[in-house]
Symmetry: C2
Subunit: 732 residues, 2 copies
C-alpha cells in the first residue's frame, strides 16, 4: 500500500491501556526487593495522577495506599492491571480482571512459551481467558512498561526524563542500558516503553501503531528478537515511517544469536538478511550494532533529514578528518564537492594552509577563534552541493585545551550553530572529542536539541540514517501505486487442476503463466510431424534454433545424437530432424520418440535467479541474485516483500554486490536493467494475482544488453488451501 | 625472521632523546596561547627533574626559569630540543642544535612536505642539516610528545596519568580523544606519546622499536596514516609482537580517506586490504574503528591472552546474551560448548529456569544475590572447553536497580572476580550497562586492573583481539624457519640476459624457472619434425594431449583447424599433426608454421591466481585469490609479505571468502590445499632467491583434488638494478 495514500484506519486500543485513568497492582508489596513494591514506588514518586489499587490479600495499606484483597474487590474502574504474581496464578487473575472491566494486563511472570510445551499450554490457557473476558495482554515474560508523559513508571526507573523516544524492547537490560546512555551521554528523553515479552496477544505491530499515533513520540525505537506477524508489522511500519522515524535493532544476525533469542522469548528469528531488506523497504532505519541504537534514534528524532548522501566535513584535525572520510565512504555516503564560491568563502576566513577541499581541515585557524567553526558550517550549509554538515574535532574543548579566555568565543560559536540549526534545512551532526567532559558549549548545544556524539563511527551511522530517511521519503512521495493484474480464468484453472491432482505446475504450464502475463519466455514447440515442423518454421523464421529429441527413453540426448544447434530455416530444420531421428534410433532402436523440441538458441549473457517464497513470518517475498556461486556461496541476494514498487525493484538490482557484473565487466555491455526491473515487477504482480501460487523459481534467467530470457521456470502450488492468506494466518 | 629466535639487535637511540636529562624549549613564551608556553607549563607542573632551557632572545626569565637568547648560548647539555618556531627558522636551528650537542629535535611547525613542493624543499634542507650535524628529527608537523614516567609532558595535558599504553599517533586530536576516553571511561594510563608527523627522519618502525624496548610500555598503540618504510616496520613489529601487544589503526580504508590522509601528512596510504593482511601477519592487532582503539589497547594491555576462540558468556539478560552471541559469531569467535559437569555446577547454583547452555542466562537467579555472577564465572573458567569468559549485563548496578542492601554482595562479587582474574589463565572480559555511572563494584574491578566495557560491541572486539593474539603467539612458538633455496646459476643467467635485452622473461623461461624449483608446470613441447614427435610421444605416453599449431600467421587457431584435443598415443598424434597442418595450409596457404605445440590436456578444477609484486612501501608481497570475478569484481584476495611461513600460506588459503569453493561445492571434491600451500611457499622461496625478479603472475593455476597445474606464467624482470633491495631503498 502506498504510505502517502494510507492512513491509520482506526485509533489503536493501546492508548487506553497505556495511559489509563487507574492502575491495579496485583501482588503489590512493601518488600523493596519485589516488583510489586517497585511499581508502587514508581507510580507514587513520579506523581501518577490516576487511582492506584494495590491488590494484596495480606495487607490493608501498602506505601500509604489502601490495599484490596482481590481484583474483584477493587471499587473503581482501572483500565490497566500490573500482575506481579507467578505464572500459575495468571489465567485466573485475567478472568477476574475481565469481570472487573479491566482492559489490559501486564504479565511480568516468566514460565510461559519460552520454557517449552508446559509453559506454552499455560500461555494458551491465559489467552483463552483473555479472549473470553476481553482483556488485552502485554507480555507475559515482560519487564513492564512506562509512559513518562503520563507519569506512569511501572519500572520505577529514576533516571529517565520525558521526551520523544518511544521504546519497545524484548530486552529489559536494553532499556536500562539506553536509559543510562541517555542520562550520561545524551540529552534524550523517553515517551513510552513497553516490553512485549512473548507477544502472546499484543505484538510489535500493535505497539508500533500506537507509537506512530502517540503525539509524544518523535521516534519509535524497537529491539526485536522475533516478529509474530511480520507482514502486519511491515504494513504498519510503512504507514508510520511516512510520519516519523522508526529505528529497529533486530537480533539474530547469526545462527548463534538466533538460538539464543529463541531460548529467550521463544521467538522465531527468520532470515536476518531478508528481515533487514524488508524492514528497509518499509522505510525502517535498521541499526546493526546495539551501541548505535540510541545515537541513531536521538539523531533521527532531533535532526533534519538529509536530502541526499553528500556530506561536508569541517574538521580541526587532519587525522580525524581522515577517519571521518573513511567511515563516510564505507557507509555509502559521499564527500560533497564544494563549489568554488564556497571554497573562496572558506579561504577568506581560514589560514592559507587550511584545506578547503572537503574534508575541510582548518589547520589551526580556529585555535584562537573557535567560533570560526560555526562560520565554516554556515558557509558549507549554504552550498547546494551539500546535503548535511559534519563537524569533527575538539569543539567545546578549546577553552580547556588552549586558554580559558576562549570560552566566550566557544559559547558564541555554539549560539551560532544553534541559530544555523534553526535556519537551515540540512542536518548538523557534531562529533566532539570533549563529549565525555560535557563542557559549557556542548551543554548549550544539547539544551538546544543538537545531539553531540562521542564517536566518529556513531556520528557517521547517524548521517547515514538521516540520508537514507531523506531518500526514502522523497521516493515515497514520488511513487505512484503500481498497477496490479487480474488473474486469468484459464490460468487459475491450471492451478486448480494441479491442486486437484496434488502436483505442482508442469514446466510448460509455469512458462505459459509467465508468458501470458507478458514475461519473455522463449517459445518452445514440440514438432511431431511434417505439418508441425512447417508451422514451427513459419513461427521462428530466421531465428537460429536448438532442436532436441523428446523421448522418455533417451536420457543422454547429446550422446544419442539427439541435439542439433544453430539450425536456421525450414530446410535445415528438416535435415536436423531427420538426422536426430536416425541417430537416436541407431542409438536405441526401441526408443519411443514423442517429437523434437524446437526453441531459439539460448541468449548469451549473465545468469540471474528470481525466487518467490511464502515466508511464515513475512508472507510472499521476492528474492533476486546472480546465478551460481553468487547465490550459493556468497549469499549475495536481495529480498523485497511482494508487492514491489518500481523503486523497490530498481533498488534490488542495485543492491547486490555483483551489480558490477550487470554493469558490464571485461568490455561486456551493461545488461538491460530496465527489462530486469520490469521482470521483477511482473513477477510481483503475478504472485499477487494468484494466491494459489506458493513458490516460484526462475533459474536461470539469462540477461544481456538486449533484454532477458527465462530459461527455466518452476511453480509450486499451494496445497489444500484455495485462500493462501488465510492458510498463512493459521500457521501462526 | 623467526621472532622467537630474533632479538632487538641494538638498543634504540630514542631512549636518550625521549628520556633526556635536559630539554631546550626553543620559542619558549609567557603567552598562554603559545605552544612554547604550554610546554614550559607541562614540564614545570609535572615536576620534570632535568634541566629546562627556555630559548627566547626577548626574555630573561620565562615562568620563573632563566631564559637564553639562543640555542648556542645554553650552558648545559640537553639531549632534546623542542622547536616551537615557524618552519622557515628550522634548518638554521637544527644546525645550532647540532653544534650544541643536542641529539634530538621535535619540530612542531607545519609547512613542510605536507603542503607541496615548496615545503618539501624546506624539509630536505632541514634533513641535510640534521644529517650533517647528527641531530635526529621528530616531526616536522607533529603535535609533540610526552613521556609520563619521566615527567616529560611537552603537550601540557593535565588529564593523563602514567601507565602502560604507549601511543604513536599521526593525529594530535586522536591523542586528546584517547586521553579523554581513558580519563572518563577507563582506568588507563600512558607511557610515551609521540606524534611522528611527516616522519622525515624517525619513522614508525623506530618508534615501535623504542616502545618494544621501553619497560614502562605494556602495549604499543599506533594511529598510522602512512608508513615510510613498511618493510622495516613489519620486521620490527614481528619482533615486538612476540614480546608485547601492538595495536594499529590504519587510516585510508577507502579512496576518500587516502586522499584526506595524503593532504594531512603527505603520506602514501598504499592498499588498505594489503596493509591489514601484512600487519596481521606480523602479529599486529589491527583495529578498524577509531572508537575501538582504546578498548582494545586496554584489554590487550591488562588481560590474559586467550588460548583460542571459545567464549563462555554469563549474562543476566537474555536480550544482551543474544546480542553478544551475534557479535561473537560475526567476529569469528565461538560459543564454547560447556561440559556436562560445568552445566551441572551451574544448575546447582542457579534457578531452574536459568539457561545453562552457553550463553548462560541466569534468568533472575542473581537479582537478590549478584555475587553469584562471580561464582558462575569461576565455574565456566574452570571448563577446559572455555578459552575466555565474557560477563554481560548489569553487574555493578544491582544495588542501584534493586536494593541498596545488595551493595555488600556486589562488592563481594567484585572481590571474587578480582581473585579469579589472578588465579585463572583465561581472560575475563566484563561488559556492564552501568559503566557510565562507575558504581563501587565496577570501580573496585577497575582498581584491580580489570577493564570494564560500556559497549558489547567493543567488548567483543577485545575478546577477538585476545583470541587472535593467543593464536598468533602459539603458532609463532611452534613455527620453524622455512628453508630457503639457493639461486641456480643457469636461471640467474636467464634474468641477466633479459635485463641485458631490456625485456622480461619469455613465458617458457618463466615456466622453466618454476619447474626447476619443483613447481608443477605441465610440460609443453614444440614438435617440428618426425623425430621430435616420436620423442614427445615417448615422454607423454598415454596422457591425453592437446595439440596446437604454432604460427605467427595464424591468430585464430581453432578457426583454422589448428587445434586437436584429447589426442592419445603416437599414432593419433601423427594423425592429428597431419590434420592440423593440412587444415591450416588450407586456411592460409602462405602461413609459416613453426611446429605443433604438444601439452597434456588442461586439468579440470578451480582457477586460482598467484601474484607477486614489489610494493614501494612493503617490498615483495604475495597475493592469492580465485580467478575471474573473485579477484576482479569482489577483490577477494589475501596478501602476505615474502618470505611466508607455512602458517602464513595456510592462512592465506583459508582467509578468502571463496574458500568454500576450494572446499568443494555441488558435490565436487575439495581441492588439494596442501599442494596449494606448497605452491605458495615455493613461489615465496623463488622470490627470495632471485632479487632480479620484480613481479610474477601465475594466472590461472588450475587446482583440483589431485593437485595443481600452472597454466600461464609471467615474470617481470627488475630493470637496471641487480640489487633490488637497494633500489627499493632509494625510492624512499
Amino acid at each position: 500500500m502506498n504510505p502517502i495514500e494510507g492512513h491509520l484506519p482506526t485509533r489503536s486500543p493501546l492508548h487506553d491501556i497505556l495511559a489509563p485513568g487507574g492502575i491495579a497492582v496485583v501482588g503489590a508489596s512493601a518488600d523493596p526487593t519485589k516488583r510489586g513494591y517497585k511499581a508502587m514506588v514508581g507510580l507514587i514518586k513520579d506523581g501518577y495522577r490516576g487511582e492506584i489499587y494495590p491488590v494484596n490479600p495480606k495487607a490493608d495499606m501498602i506505601l500509604g495506599v489502601k490495599a484490596w484483597p482481590s481484583v474483584t474487590a477493587i471499587p473503581g474502574n482501572p483500565a490497566l492491571a500490573l500482575i506481579c504474581t507467578p505464572a500459575a496464578t495468571v489465567p485466573g487473575l485475567i478472568a477476574e480482571c475481565g469481570r472487573r472491566g479491566i482492559k489490559g494486563a501486564v504479565i511480568l511472570a516468566s514460565g510461559f512459551a519460552e520454557i517449552g510445551e508446559e509453559g506454552a499450554a499455560l500461555e494458551r490457557e491465559m489467552m483463552e481467558k483473555a479472549r473470553a473476558h476481553g482483556v488485552r495482554i502485554i507480555g507475559p515474560n515482560t519487564s513492564g512498561l512506562f509512559n513518562l508523559h503520563h507519569r506512569i513508571n511501572l519500572l520505577s526507573l529514576d533516571n529517565v526524563k520525558p521526551g520523544g523516544v518511544g521504546i519497545i524492547s524484548q530486552s529489559g537490560n536494553m532499556l536500562l542500558s539506553l536509559a543510562l546512555e541517555a542520562q550520561y551521554n545524551g540529552n534524550v528523553g523517553f515517551s513510552t516503553y513497553v516490553g512485549p515479552g512473548n507477544q502472546s496477544d499484543i505484538g510489535f505491530n500493535d505497539y508500533l501503531r500506537y507509537l506512530g499515533e502517540d503525539e509524544n513520540t518523535r521516534v519509535a525505537t524497537l529491539y526485536v528478537e522475533g516478529f509474530r506477524d511480520g507482514r502486519k508489522f511491515l504494513d504498519v511500519a510503512r504507514e508510520v515511517t511516512a510520519m516519523k522515524p522508526v529505528v529497529v535493532y533486530k537480533s539474530g544476525s547469526t545462527e548463534a544469536g538466533q538460538k539464543a533469542a529463541s531460548s529467550h522469548t521463544g521467538a522465531l528469528a527468520g532470515s536476518y538478511a531478508m528481515t533487514v531488506d524488508l524492514l528497509k523497504q518499509a522505510g525502517v532505519s535498521v541499526v546493526q550494532h546495539s551501541d548505535e541504537i540510541l545515537p541513531v534514534a536521538e539523531g533521527l528524532g532531533l535532526l533534519q533529514k538529509a536530502r541526499g548522501k553528500r556530506v561536508a566535513v569541517i574538521s580541526d584535525g587532519g587525522g580525524q578528518a581522515t577517519i571521518a572520510s573513511d567511515r563516510l565512504a564505507e557507509a555509502g555516503l559521499e564527500l560533497a564537492e564544494l563549489s568554488e564560491s564556497t571554497r573562496q568563502q572558506l579561504r577568506d576566513v581560514l589560514f592559507p594552509q587550511a584545506s578547503t577541499v572537503n574534508p575541510v581541515d582548518v589547520a589551526g585557524s580556529t585555535d584562537a577563534n573557535p567560533s570560526l567553526l560555526a562560520t565554516c558550517m554556515e558557509i558549507v550549509a549554504a552550498d547546494d552541493n551539500v546535503d548535511s554538515v559534519f563537524l569533527v574535532g575538539m569543539f567545546g574543548g578549546y577553552s580547556i585545551r588552549f586558554a580559558e579566555s576562549l570560552l566566550g568565543d566557544e559559547m558564541r560559536g555554539a549560539e551560532a550553530m544553534v541559530d544555523l540549526s534553526k535556519s537551515t534545512t540540512k542536518p548538523l551532526v557534531i562529533y566532539s572529542l570533549y563529549t565525555p567532559i560535557k563542557p559549557p558549549a556542548l551543554r548549550r548545544l544539547h539544551e538546544a536539541g543538537l545531539p553531540i556524539y562521542a564517536s566518529i563511527e556513531h556520528a557517521v551511522r547517524v548521517l547515514a540514517a538521516l540520508g537514507e530517511r531523506g531518500q526514502y521519503l522523497a521516493q515515497v512521495e514520488r511513487q505512484s501505486r503500481e498497477r496490479s493484474v487480474e488473474p486469468v480464468p484459464e490460468l487459475t484453472a491450471l492451478f486448480r487442476e494441479a491442486q486437484a491432482d496434488g502436483r505442482d505446475l508442469f514446466e510448460y504450464e509455469a512458462k505459459r503463466l509467465l508468458r501470458d502475463h507478458g514475461i519473455e519466455v522463449p517459445l518452445e514447440l514440440v514438432v511431431r510431424n511434417e505439418a508441425e515442423l512447417a508451422e514451427a518454421a513459419g513461427q521462428f523464421g530466421e531465428t537460429p534454433l536448438a532442436m532436441k529429441v523428446v523421448s522418455k527413453d533417451i536420457l543422454h540426448k547429446s550422446d544419442a545424437g539427439g541435439v542439433k544447434l544453430n539450425v536456421v530455416g525450414e530446410a535445415a530444420m528438416r535435415e536436423a530432424r531427420d538426422a536426430i531421428l536416425a541417430s537416436c534410433l541407431a542409438y536405441d532402436a526401441d526408443a519411443e520418440i514423442e517429437g523434437i523440441l524446437v526453441t531459439p538458441m539460448a541468449k548469451k549473457g549473465v545468469e540471474v535467479i528470481l525466487g518467490v517464497i511464502r515466508d511464515p513470518i513475512f508472507g510472499p517475498v521476492l528474492m533476486f541474485g546472480l546465478g551460481g556461486i553468487f547465490v550459493e556461496i556468497l549469499e549475495d541476494v536481495a529480498f523485497r516483500a511482494i508487492p514491489l514498487s518500481r523503486r523497490d525493484a530498481e533498488e534490488m538490482v542495485d543492491q547486490i554486490k555483483a551489480r558490477k557484473i550487470l554493469d558490464g565487466v571485461r568490455g561486456e555491455k551493461a545488461v538491460d536493467k530496465a527489462a530486469l526491473v520490469d521482470l521483477l515487477l511482473k513477477v510481483s504482480r503475478i504472485v499477487e494475482a494468484y494466491p494459489e501460487l506458493s513458490e516460484l523459481d526462475l533459474n536461470p534467467v539469462i540477461v544481456n544488453a538486449d533484454g532477458y530470457a527465462v530459461v527455466d521456470a518452476r511453480v509450486i502450488v499451494e496445497r489444500g488451501h484455495s485462500d493462501n492468506t488465510s492458510a498463512d494466518k493459521e500457521a501462526h
